[in-house]
Symmetry: D2
């Protein structure tokens, strides 16, 4: 079975796996206090050009989102997000479970627009009943977004400036940040992200790790007793090395960026072959996720040979699906997909 279902169908990038194998019998202290984890954090600070950043390692994306939001918001503050944002749609209510409201903003192919954010903040500020309402505390963006789209440097700079002026925390969910940084369409660098955001995470799970996300507090240090909060949410690994070793490998010799480039390069080829096959794009993106509309019966035939991901119903007879590439996508996979498409 060919898989373009997602970017987490295979295990780890071979270099990441090798690092786990090689370090396996070395005794390391627990809970992320070991020197390999410390070195991974150093490498990330260097890559971010943020020598004072506080870097922590967590297991997964939803976990990271809920812990960040829980740690940084006051009890009556909420977090803005595009209505399509992962925290508002696909985290089974994890944010609300921490007690915080997700404040929806319009989605522009997954992005928020500064004018929408400003309007929402001004409406709150001008409302005489503000004390009865959830106050704006944070802005959540994903980059790439859930739709594979990107913010430009100009857009992120403007969002950052607005947030700082208004005292809002700017948090970037970088589950697929490597793909965003590697996209030829992007003018944002990792140091830009570190400089413009207060806190963000560099996704590992979808970028070549077995699991793991590197959370970077670049705007200010992590809150007091952050490790305890991580523990309280059941997110602290006894074998913290599992995360440290992987990120140490990912940030050695530019591997993280290389993994992003491979995924994006494969996606460019994927787009070309989908176009050649006459597919209808629902959304064509500059990163590793592409969205295509299939007639339902054709989709059923496709799915006998290729795993793809349900996105949403387009209409009664058509469905939007997502096809994703990653570091492990081969030219053979792409050629095989092209063959299947011919038969639909």
């Amino acid at each position: 079975m060919l898989s373009f279902e997602n970017d987490y169908a295979r295990g780890a990038h071979p270099a990441v796996l090798s690092a786990l194998v090689e370090s396996n019998l070395q005794p390391l202290s627990g809970y992320g206090t070991d020197p390999v984890t410390a070195r991974a954090a150093d490498r990330i600070r260097a890559a971010c050009e943020a020598p004072d950043a506080d870097v922590r390692f967590l297991v997964g994306g939803t976990q990271t989102n809920l812990i960040v939001i829980d740690a940084l918001l006051g009890p009556t503050e909420g977090v803005f997000s595009a209505v399509s944002g992962h925290i508002g749609v696909h985290e089974a209510g994890a944010i609300e479970r921490t007690g915080h409201k997700v404040l929806p903003l319009p989605s522009h192919d997954g992005r928020i627009a500064l004018e929408d954010l400003r309007a929402a903040v001004e409406a709150f500020d001008g409302d005489e009943n503000g004390e009865h309402m959830v106050a704006p505390g944070m802005v959540y963006i994903s980059h790439p977004t859930e739709f594979g789209t990107l913010y430009s440097k100009e857009e992120l700079t403007a969002l950052s400036a607005f947030c700082r002026r208004r005292g809002l925390i700017l948090y970037l969910d970088g589950a697929r940040l490597g793909c965003g940084l590697a996209s030829p369409a992007s003018d944002l660098t990792l140091p830009d992200v570190a400089r413009l955001c207060d806190v963000f995470y560099i996704g590992g799970t979808k970028m070549g790790a077995l699991c793991g996300e590197a959370l970077v507090f670049s705007g200010h240090p992590a809150p007091a007793r952050f490790l305890s909060l991580v523990k309280q949410h059941g997110a602290l690994l006894a074998k913290g090395r599992l995360l440290g070793v992987q990120f140490d490998a990912l940030f050695s010799d530019g591997l993280y960026f290389e993994i992003g480039r491979r995924a994006v390069t494969a996606a460019e080829k994927l787009k070309a072959l989908l176009r050649r096959a006459g597919c209808t794009f629902w959304l064509e993106t500059p990163t590793n996720q592409q969205f295509v509309i299939f007639e339902n019966e054709a989709l059923e035939r496709l799915r006998r040979h290729v795993a793809v991901s349900f996105w949403e119903r387009a209409d009664a007879t058509h469905t939007v699906v997502r096809l994703a590439t990653d570091w492990s996508t081969t030219d053979e996979d792409l050629a095989a997909l092209a063959e299947v498409l011919k038969t639909l």
Copy 2:
């Protein structure tokens, strides 16, 4: 200072206050276990024609909403509400604080439409990623709505039927239920509400009590250990009599309905005088809240003499305000308002 600011500017209806005074020195057992509270519950069951209903007394509306939602939803379930619903806007995130997401539906002057609800439920049911999402568990409606509008018997019947077919709890917030029942525009009776909803509350605070709401589980009994849950939320009064005595009075001799009629009658007079004064209605309603647009400087002058309630900014130079009547509104108040309006 004349007040049309809201329907909670004065204390209790005199008959309610008298009941408190008369019973004051009678020793009664605590926490709502006294016979007066039991009699109040009996009277409410009778008025609802729901002999098996479980009636509980709570202090305020937000408290009631959060306890109902917390008690009846599973941990990964959410509650539908019009985007304008009190639980989604003006409860400072109380629902999210219990861990539940408020799932927004379009507001039709405060009401939800069955077609919107059905579309949202069907979208969830047809989504292959439903396990990653908050599941529909309850439908919250207010009646009258926050905009003073009402559901017809036909609309409520259809919502109820849909909810029962789909296994959704239908919960009605009746903060101003007495005004809804008293409105000449309404064809819904209290027994209709009890029959069509699973759970609802009969508002006291805005209908002549000092505080207090009567929560009615008409569709099924209250959840196990409900009193403990009320205690856990800090909502259990040691002197439960404060609620029991007031509702005993409100449901004696039809007082609750009389209070509604007085508020609605005063509102009809208010609408007439606003029209005569040439005011621009933002929304004219069949209950005790009316919404008018004022030019900002005129509003400032008005507010020197009359307390009204900010609703929202209409545009840069105009503001929407709410004027409310209640059982205590007198013809003298109305005449005085008419005089002030002439001077703007």
Copy 3:
């Protein structure tokens, strides 16, 4: 039925009720923003000799406890309490529901001892696994305690000094504070309490009000957006006047202290008659609650005529009960009790 069951069996002290009646038709702004509530806060600041204190009004004791603890503790901090403390035993898990652990200390007739507190804090400070543990954040004491006992000025001074040195918030639950202040056995004044504690509440419900507690932040201001937090917990009354008017009356002409004196004076008479009747005290206290051991069958006979409160089983054939007095206890009540005791 004679009632010594508790100190909340009757309604409000007549002077408090009169204040409600007299102000009933005066329109006042909602949510505690009215001038009567402001005056009540002023009177309390004056009585506390704490001109900078931030005074807020809440409805009940458990509600106040959970809001204070929720507002002031960090997410991984807990609150020390005697194992017998109300927050640990009789609040149905309200504190845990806010996410915080109650850290138990030994109970010395309801009091905590400084040496136990110090030992617990030092154990935490010296534990290499402290990051995996709940950190001490607050010390909760009740005064009078749940057993009717009192802290001396020397004891409270020592607790306060320790807490300030160690950065712990000292919070005093004064559900029956008036009885404590009125006790001849006590050398603590209200200004002492305000000076030595960071935050405390002056109980109204059990001291002559229908409901209501005055929360005093004397050590530092209330947290940001505290009103919103109150709203979020469903604890904000639309008719905030209900609390303001009552406390305005309670702190006029020394009424609050007079209510305490009457309860304590009645308790002294109660103790004398229980002694004369040959009752066995489980605990004899300097305030308004007395604890007596009855043989179970005698207790059953007693309860046919007198409501008393179950405290705990003493052994298979004996039970500890509590008898309480309050402002409404009359010499006739006491005489009638004496008669019943003769017949057991």
Copy 4:
């Protein structure tokens, strides 16, 4: 540096690591829906002789504990635990964060005694104020306990019978279950555990996995929407294979039991050498954790060469430390430790 600090200092058992390496490039569906994970669950059901058990895989122990307790308790129910239990001491308040109280029972070297449990339950059942209290809902035990001690089959059978009679859920934390099953001192088998408990977890992290715990609902199925609850707590791995592959390996060819035997055999050797070195045991146990008292300066010298774990202060000049073995402990490690001990 020699390490007897804990049983999570090294990576995975080589056979577990091999399984990860071999399956690495095989595309598998996400979130634990893949066939390898299904096979791992089958193997565990077989090992438990519980064909109807519902087996789920989670990442860590605290995470598993908090999710089980959150999923199975009603909102006003608490969980009994020995005061020394992991959920009450070393999870940074994770259980309270889900809203539930940990109800402490005396610790008998980490175990609870049936008589203490029965007394606590009977006290609750006989308390007239039970509605104001947290109700017993679950009994948490660890096996081996945090002290390395074990329940006998007779003890576990009696606890199970009591819990079933009283409607309490019996939950066993098996972070080191393999060591318990492998101990010569134990007469409990895995099928016994599955039969006597309602839910339990088979620890992976401390038994040869990189991470991961297998949660077994043997008494009844997992609660509805359990996967969504796992997601909501941020505990759902996109690459669920990471857990499935490891447990598939652990439950192939008896590896899990072999790992337990190796740890316990090493511990027997460790005990012998500690005895020979004249060490003072604080607690000598039948599993892989041993507790020894060192004079503080000797401990400091020891720690220059050997990592051991702080347990608690014994007195001003002595400290209790824990030494642990696991599958990776070699005879060389033990010999080296013996050498160091000679020099203290």
